[in-house]
């Protein structure tokens, strides 16, 4: 325990240093780089700012709900007057504003219509539209989202309870059903917990799809396609954006028993896996957050920049992602990009101990893929970005709530500056690889240079305990064919296979005008190839054995990426180390030194131990809990290749 505490402390030192250094560097540059600015939306002092729902009424009024159960209306956002419309609701997590006198909300136990029948600005009628799903008062039993489709149906979703807290068995709403479908820890004791649900206009409930764990975000595309985000954990290896279709099962088995065709417990995981429909887009854990919220579509007609028609998804971490969807062989899949990221301290992420001070639900696996992002200049993005809505003026309102998982509640808006961002705009599947398009003309020489591109792929397994990335491989780039105008590029991939998430990370890529890509990272979820091929291998086992990976030897290029993520701030890009940010008396090792006492003069065995366990008496944290042994070997290979070779200048 003491060792763990010490490790956390040293992480803390490193993290504060990382953040401080990065902040200093970023502040001067960021304003010149960012095309989107973050603004605070002032909230009334009487409102507890745990914003859990954001919507706009047809006349432009802003409507927000908070977890304290209130509904507030602002008559002229962002600076208009606020008044409280309703109160006393049970943790509403979704809101739909029909007008400023009629608002629908999802509470834990029901869908409710609030009506101001007297016109005094306060709801006097709280009408139960539907409460046919069961609740047990468990803390994790949230009811999420609210959208209305073209037929007038209300769309919502329910989450599963968590046995870290009690279930009300003494006074159940209906007799509880605690039968397990397949070894699940999170149960579905009440009917339709873990489901996507539809309430038709006359108030009847229609269960639509099952298999959700914590379906925190409900969204509707402009074409009427229903999507839900689900959150990583047991059976849901990474967070997802799911295209909801009637009768489908999306992975978490607890809710499966509420299907009409349920035949009893499913003993065989493979049978369960065969029933599961894949997500449209995976949001890789750690790299693209940990707990996604509400997906919203940019229908602003260009007032939010060049991403019309794309999906924006807030995350519990300081992240908003962007998703490009396409239909391939009749099913949605697509690419996920970071859109706005802000610095998150590693210490905060490491606080994920399952206790009530849980900060970022990233876990060890997520931490491994966490990218240290420099803090933004100006107003920072808060965590808890679970609810979003586009305003009539084209800005994106972001409601934030973090209760129990961190700190930082409120309401912010993202405003496009009008300056064209330098971003990868889309990533589409082709028969030979991918087509990337850009928001601005890019440097064609860089586009055509293989050194610019790092392309890899990996899978997640379908397992009760969740899954790390498996079957990770570098991808061979068969060809790079930039368009004449530098706005797009065909990328050929050798051995293009379905069932993998392809990660593309350009390095140093700039626009033709010399501006860097703002978010040089994208993940494409390749469920189906253009000719309809799908993955036919085992869904719960890796296809590349660990031994085979180990036999391939250390990968210095992979080590370079890890160095850039975890090591560079203290040891510097040139490996010279030196005083730590904020603690100059603590010097990081200089890998350029030569001689018997130089760091790299030690044998590999000693250096691997140092990286794994941390050096004695020095602030560097142990990386054994963060990196796999193979990755630590990769880092060492990079250190030797970059700083220890004969060509490297020793000092």
């Amino acid at each position: 325990m003491r060792r763990r505490c010490n490790a956390r402390r040293t992480w803390s030192v490193c993290c504060s240093g990382l953040i401080t250094l990065a902040a200093t560097a970023a502040t001067s540059q960021a304003e010149a780089v960012y095309s989107y600015q973050i603004e605070e939306v002032a909230l009334p002092a009487a409102m507890v700012p745990e914003i859990s729902g954001v919507a706009f009424a047809p006349e432009g009024e802003l409507v927000v709900v908070n977890r304290r159960g209130e509904v507030w209306i602002n008559d002229a956002p962002p600076s208009g007057r606020w008044h409280r419309f309703a109160f006393g609701l049970h943790e509403p997590l979704g809101v739909l504003a029909v007008s400023k006198r009629e608002i629908l909300v999802t509470q834990r136990p029901e869908l409710t219509r609030l009506t101001d029948s007297t016109g005094d600005g306060r709801a006097d009628r709280y009408e139960t539209v539907n409460d046919d799903w069961w609740v047990t008062d468990n803390w994790h039993e949230f009811t999420f989202g609210l959208r209305q489709d073209a037929e007038g149906n209300y769309l919502l979703a329910t989450g599963l309870p968590d046995l870290a807290g009690p279930i009300n068995e003494l006074h159940p709403r209906e007799p509880l059903n605690l039968e397990k479908v397949h070894q699940e820890k999170k149960p579905s004791p009440g009917r339709y917990e873990g489901w996507a649900l539809k309430v038709v206009p006359d108030g009847r409930l229609t269960p639509v799809a099952s298999g959700f764990r914590a379906a925190a975000g409900v969204g509707l595309s402009p074409d009427g396609d229903w999507f839900i985000t689900d959150q990583q954990g047991d059976y849901i290896a990474t967070s997802t954006l799911v295209h909801v279709q009637p009768g489908r099962f999306y992975g978490h088995p607890a809710s499966f028993k509420w299907r009409d065709d349920y035949q009893g417990p499913v003993k065989d995981l493979q049978s369960l896996a065969s029933l599961r429909s894949p997500e449209a887009v995976a949001l890789p854990h750690g790299a693209l957050g940990g707990s996604p919220g509400e997906p919203v579509w940019d229908t602003t007609g260009g007032r939010f920049g060049p991403f019309e028609g794309q999906v924006f998804i807030g995350d519990f971490t300081k992240l908003i992602s962007r998703v490009y969807l396409e239909k391939v062989a009749g099913e949605f899949q697509g690419a996920a990009f970071p859109f706005i990221r802000d610095a998150v301290g590693l210490e905060a992420i490491q606080a994920n101990s399952g206790k009530d001070n849980l900060t970022i639900p990233a876990g060890g696996e997520g931490l491994k893929h966490f990218r240290d992002v420099p803090p933004r200049a100006g107003t920072p993005l808060r965590p808890g970005n679970m609810r979003m809505a586009f305003a009539p003026d084209g800005s994106l309102y972001v409601g934030q709530t973090t209760r129990g998982w961190g700190q930082g509640d409120g309401l912010q808006r993202i405003v496009w500056s009008g300056r064209e961002p330098v971003e990868m705009k889309t990533m589409e599947l082709t028969s030979e690889g991918f087509r990337l398009t850009f928001t601005a003309p890019m440097n064609r020489d860089q586009l055509a240079d293989r050194k610019t591109w790092r392309v890899s792929r990996f899978r997640y397994l379908y397992l009760p305990a969740g899954s790390p990335r498996v079957d990770e491989q570098r991808c061979e780039i068969a060809f790079l064919r930039p368009a004449e105008d530098g706005r797009s590029m065909e990328m050929g991939i050798g051995d293009l296979q379905p069932g993998f998430i392809y990660e593309v990370e350009p390095e140093g890529l700039e626009s033709a005008e010399g501006k860097p890509l703002e978010n040089p990272l994208v993940f494409y979820t390749l469920n189906r190839t253009l000719d309809g091929r799908v993955f036919e291998g085992p869904l719960s086992e890796p296809i590349i054995r660990e031994a085979a990976v180990a036999d391939s030897g250390p990968d210095a290029e992979a080590g370079r990426q890890i160095y850039a993520t975890f090591c560079v701030t203290c040891h510097q890009p040139d490996g010279r180390g030196g005083g730590l940010p904020g603690a100059p008396q603590l010097a990081a090792a200089n890998f350029r030194l030569r001689g018997p006492d130089a760091p790299l003069s030690k044998p590999d065995e000693d250096l691997l131990k140092i990286i794994t366990n941390g050096p004695e008496g020095k602030p560097m944290p142990p990386f054994g809990g963060v990196l796999k042994p193979g990755q630590i070997r990769d880092v060492l290979a990079y250190l030797r290749a970059a700083f220890g070779g004969e060509d490297s200048p020793g000092e």
Binding site: R67, G88, Q107, D131, W139, H171, P172, D356, R403, G404
Partner: protein, 231 residues
């Protein structure tokens, strides 16, 4: 800390009474006048439910079904209304503290602040037509109207309106069954700490009261101590 937070809430809700307390709280927080602090807590507690309007909160309630209601009726009455059971589960003089329900990730039920004088044990106190016919009870919602709260529910699909109001320190429940096409039976339990009086229904024996089709009746629940003139 909990009490401070609670009192602060009431300062906001009761601005005309809150100003003095706000000042005391400020002194308290700045730790410059401990004697005032002592005097503050020595003062008789202001009514916890002294707003002019009733308030309904859906929340985690102790000894109730999931997502029940806490109802505060001015000036000093509160109750738990459980839509998955008979309606009013318990009644007390005082108020409700919601702070335990939203302080952390895993929360506790709301805290009852005051002495409970009425507690309903029967989970299904309604019958329709015959003493054996337990109807399905579904919540339709509630509304604020003319300074009272009116809950609406259905018994086997027929609408019933239940009005809740405070009267003389006790609770009055008024039931409108004008949309119910059958005679109804309602069970009233013996209460050691409350006097329960029914008006408009016929005593059917065994604690059951009968109201004819389309009828209405009311039920007054008074603290026995108040009725008997005890403190």
């Amino acid at each position: 800390v909990t009490r401070c937070a609670y009192e602060w809430r009431h300062c906001i809700l009761l601005p005309w009474k809150g100003a003095a307390r706000e000042g005391v709280l400020w002194l308290m927080q700045n730790s410059i006048a401990p004697f005032l602090l002592l005097a503050f807590f020595s003062l008789p507690s202001a009514p916890l439910c002294a707003d002019e309007y009733p308030r309904v909160y859906r929340t985690f309630m102790p000894d109730a079904g999931p997502s029940a209601f806490a109802v505060e009726l001015p000036p000093q009455l509160a109750l738990c209304y459980d839509p998955s059971r008979g309606g009013v589960n318990s009644v007390w003089r005082g108020g409700i503290d919601l702070e335990p329900t939203h302080q952390a990730k895993i929360n506790a039920p709301a805290a009852v602040r005051g002495g409970v004088f009425y507690r309903e044990i029967e989970a299904s106190p309604w019958r329709l037509g015959t003493p054996e016919a337990v109807p399905e009870r579904r919540l339709n919602g509630y509304r604020y109207e003319d300074g009272v709260v009116k809950f609406e529910f259905t018994l086997d699909g027929s609408k019933v309106v239940e009005t809740l109001r405070e009267d003389g320190g006790g609770l009055v429940r008024e039931f409108d069954l004008s949309a119910v096409a059958q005679a109804a039976l309602f069970r009233v339990e013996e209460q050691p700490e409350a006097v329960v009086e029914v008006t408009g229904a016929t005593d059917a024996g065994g604690g059951w009261w009968r109201v004819e089709a389309g009828g209405a009746f009311s039920m007054r629940v008074s603290p026995r101590a108040v009725r008997e003139g005890r403190p």
